[in-house]
């Protein structure tokens, strides 16, 4: 929000200049006027407008694809919205989210805390790196969904297994990003810390972690996105509960609008959640981004 007053302060000055000049030189008047964005142009190029237009285009394309239809199992946008509304109205979607969110949130919190801790430790200490990096590099490359039967075999079909699936999906990218972030702290910054007599723990807390935080947070966002996939995957592959249950059940009775409504709701929730992490990062750790964009 802070950005707008700033921009407004700068722009009118430039426009005033343009207006003055156009009054002085009639031959160049047209060119200068063209360059001055009017209220309409500003409205149409505003980030919020553009995002709404982009979303609207997507919905229209969806509607069109549904009416063609590209597949009998592909509902139109309006049908899906109606189904979504019905699920919201009778509260079934909320009940489903309450179930799905349990393994998801537990798994994400555990992955975030443990993942950042392990990644930062690996970045700070080479022994920790040698010990842990093979595990997570393999984990990131392997198709982890294939491990789900093994997990069920070991931990049953309850909350534990589902939480584990979320962790397995979310952790590797969080760990590896945190590790890379810490490793790539600019050497001159840590040297600056040492030369101004910061003890090791201050170099870590005041220089290395703040310097690493953008990449750590990028890892957290990616990890959360994977965690969401993990939660739904667990509900589809282990036992149908929560949102996964709506998806499975509506597909089995060919209620495709409800199925797509459930998928859409989880996507929207995921996007909002990840956006919230980004906002939290800027508010907590990047004062310079708040000061000026």
């Amino acid at each position: 929000m802070a950005e707008h007053p700033n921009q407004l302060e700068v722009e009118p000055a430039g426009f005033a200049l343009a207006r003055e000049r156009s009054a002085g030189g009639p031959s160049r008047k047209g060119a200068l006027l063209d360059r001055r964005p009017g209220a309409a142009t500003r409205f149409f190029t505003h980030p919020v407008t553009l995002r709404i237009v982009s979303a609207a285009a997507l919905c229209l394309a969806w509607q069109w694809a549904g009416t063609v239809p590209i597949s009998p199992a592909f509902p139109t946008f309006t049908e899906t919205m109606a189904a979504l509304w019905a699920m919201l109205a009778d509260g079934s979607l909320f009940a489903a989210f309450a179930i799905t969110l349990q393994p998801l949130l537990i798994g994400l919190v555990v992955s975030a805390i443990l993942g950042v801790a392990v990644g930062v430790a690996m970045g700070l200490d080479e022994r920790a790196e040698w010990f842990a990096s093979p595990i997570f590099i393999v984990a990131q490359a392997a198709p982890l969904a294939a491990l789900i039967p093994l997990i069920v075999f070991a931990y049953g079909i309850g909350l534990t297994s589902k939480t584990l699936v979320v962790c397995i999906m979310a952790m590797p990218v969080i760990v590896l990003n945190s590790f890379a972030a810490v490793r790539h702290t600019p050497v001159s910054l840590t040297e600056m810390g040492r030369s101004f007599l910061a003890p090791r723990r201050k170099v870590i807390s005041r220089i290395i972690l703040p310097a690493a935080s953008p990449v750590i947070f990028a890892g957290l966002r990616l990890g959360c996105a994977s965690g969401f996939i993990g939660a739904i995957l667990a509900e589809l592959l282990i036992t149908p509960t929560g949102v996964g249950d709506i998806i499975t059940y509506s597909r089995s009775i060919a209620d495709y609008p409800s199925m797509y409504a459930a998928i859409l709701s989880i996507i929207v929730f995921s996007v909002v959640f990840i956006e919230a992490i980004e906002q939290a990062e800027v508010i907590l750790f990047r004062p310079e981004k708040r000061a000026s964009p």
């Binding site: 600019p186 001159s188 910054l189 040297e191 600056m192 810390g193 040492r194 030369s195 101004f196 007599l197 910061a198 003890p199 201050k202 005041r206 220089i207 703040p210 310097a211 935080s213 750790f285 990047r286 004062p287 310079e288 000061a291 000026s292």
Partner: protein
């Protein structure tokens, strides 16, 4: 110990804050960056390290700062052997080394904060130091809002406010344009005259070295050795502009150029 010390029997009145003795630096077991460096840095003067790129100026400066270990030999500061960074030395980094997430004042107070000074006191000192380098009013800006030259001044303010005996600067003016560079050089002269500090200044500009230095240590390229030590006899009390027309200034620039030319092929 050896010749250079014995020869300083007729030592000038100034004492040496920093003494470097028989210093060697070998990187990664193979690259010999410095070889048998023995040199003194007199108190209250500005000494430049001058030499072609890659001759080990930054390496020598970082060893004196205690940021790099020497492979052999020792550095003494105020008579004590250096084993790491210390409160009597402050560093101005070539690439500024400012924390992008911290405002100017937070960057400048960093050193004082690490020394355990209370917030009100350190901000008071930092404000004075910021004003000193001509950045008053920019206390709450962030580094990315400043020009290269302004960032360099923040680094300088940070080094000045910890009140160290020795201020080390690694090519502090390399990121600014020629006009600003000249302006900063003049300001540096004023600073040296006013502060009772010892400055060690790295540069690869001959003109800059002769303009600002009381003493110039000329290094030869790899392995870095001391080629020559020059003390240009220029009176800097009067007009700072006049220095660039001073015959000694012009002669010294020429002499150094002829010395360095022999390394070019």
């Amino acid at each position: 110990m050896n010749a250079p010390i014995a020869l300083t029997a007729a030592r000038p009145v100034t004492d040496s804050v920093v003494e470097v003795r028989n210093l060697d630096k070998i990187y990664a077991g193979t690259v010999q960056a410095l070889k048998d460096i023995t040199v003194d840095f007199p108190r209250g003067q500005l000494t430049s390290l001058l030499g072609p790129s890659g001759c080990g100026k930054t390496t020598l400066l970082k060893i004196i700062a205690g940021l790099l270990p020497a492979s052999a030999g020792e550095v003494r500061v105020n008579g004590k052997v250096v084993s790491g960074p210390g409160p009597e030395r402050a560093f101005v980094f070539q690439d500024f080394a400012l924390m992008p997430w911290a405002s100017v004042i937070k960057n400048v107070t960093f050193g004082l904060e690490m020394r355990g000074m209370a917030k009100a006191e350190r901000e008071e000192i930092a404000r004075r130091s910021i004003a000193r380098v001509g950045l008053a009013g920019f206390e709450n800006r962030y580094p990315h809002e400043l020009s290269g030259g302004m960032r360099q001044r923040v680094g300088l303010a940070r080094a000045l406010c910890v009140d160290a005996d020795v201020v080390m600067m690694d090519e502090p003016f390399s990121a600014v344009d020629e006009q600003n560079r000249r302006k900063f050089q003049e300001e540096l002269l004023t600073l040296v005259a006013q502060e009772k500090k010892t400055f060690i200044f790295v540069t690869h500009s001959i003109e800059e070295a002769v303009y600002v230095s009381d003493r110039i240590v000329l290094l030869s390229p790899r392995p870095g050795r001391i080629a020559e030590i020059i003390e240009p006899d220029i009176n800097r009390d009067g007009d700072t502009e006049a220095i660039r027309r001073h015959p000694v200034y012009l002669d010294t620039v020429d002499a150094i150029w002829y010395s360095l030319k022999t390394y070019l092929d």
